[in-house]
Symmetry: C2
Subunit: 142 residues, 2 copies
DNA sequence: GTTGCTGCAAAGTGTTTGCACCCTG
DNA sequence: CAGGGTGCAAACACTTTGCAGCAAC
């Protein structure tokens, strides 16, 4: 497992009088090894193979911890469940989501960001975060 | 009430062997009169004053009907509940959402749309819809 | 040995569905 | 008067929380 993530988590944990546990290590390990955009349930299934007695609630609680510590970001693609992606050493990007096969293509376009800033400034609005999802068909599903 | 919306709904209803009911009229009336971005529960409260015996389920079912007939669009701002906005005679736009007071500013920027199309084309992706939400602070909450 | 963490089950939240009765067309 | 619509309550899916025992520091 990438030990840098573990360091980040340990730093956050020790700074907040929290504890490092076997389960938290296991969830973090699975999270760093899995593909992006996992749901809590998917991660729970992955972790279960290593930590068979882990509870789903612990996975939810650890995902909240990862989000607070800056390792994960919550995503909501509008399908009724939250998904999580790697934030540490994974710069900002937006998503194209294929409505046919579910494939997600990440992209980033500096000019789009720039015009977002402009529109916000025109409205005296300060952007703290944004999300742009393009829904449609990927090249394989057309 | 804007009778054009009623015409659209009636057209959809008669084309699909459905029926016009007192409740559906009441929900449509409240929907046309209310501000944009209502949740089902908010609309239910509004309708209840006119149709006190209406059930929340009917509001949900009617909102689905409005969505299918093209009068409403479903929105998801990631707060765990769906919201609905007017689609008929209300062109596409994106949203700036104040995380402090909840205010929503609608905007549209042709160049952002244009670059979205470009990014999609570069990835051989066909956009069917998109959504862009900017989260942050409005001028009154800074 | 404190104090936070875990697993479990129960509670919550927003939405959908099954059903007997009602009403529109 | 047939077939869809309604209200109600129960079911749902996902997530959070209360609690007694457990484990990390």
């Amino acid at each position: 497992m990438a030990s840098k993530e573990l360091k980040v988590l340990e730093g956050y944990i020790t700074q907040n009088q929290l504890k490092i546990t076997r389960q938290r290590r296991a969830v973090l390990k699975a999270f760093t090894e899995c593909e992006n955009h996992v749901s809590a349930e998917e991660l729970y299934n992955m972790v279960s193979s290593a930590e068979s007695k882990i509870g789903l609630a612990t996975v939810y609680r650890t995902l909240a911890l990862l989000t607070e510590s800056g390792l994960a970001s919550e995503l909501d693609f509008g399908d009724g469940q939250k998904r999580y992606e790697h934030r540490y050493m994974h710069s900002h990007h937006d998503h194209m989501i294929c409505t046919e096969c579910g494939k997600i293509i990440e992209f980033n376009h500096p000019l789009i960001e720039k015009f977002q800033e402009k529109v916000a400034a025109d409205n005296k609005f300060i952007i703290t975060s944004h999300k742009l999802d393009l829904l449609g068909l990927c090249n394989e599903c057309q």
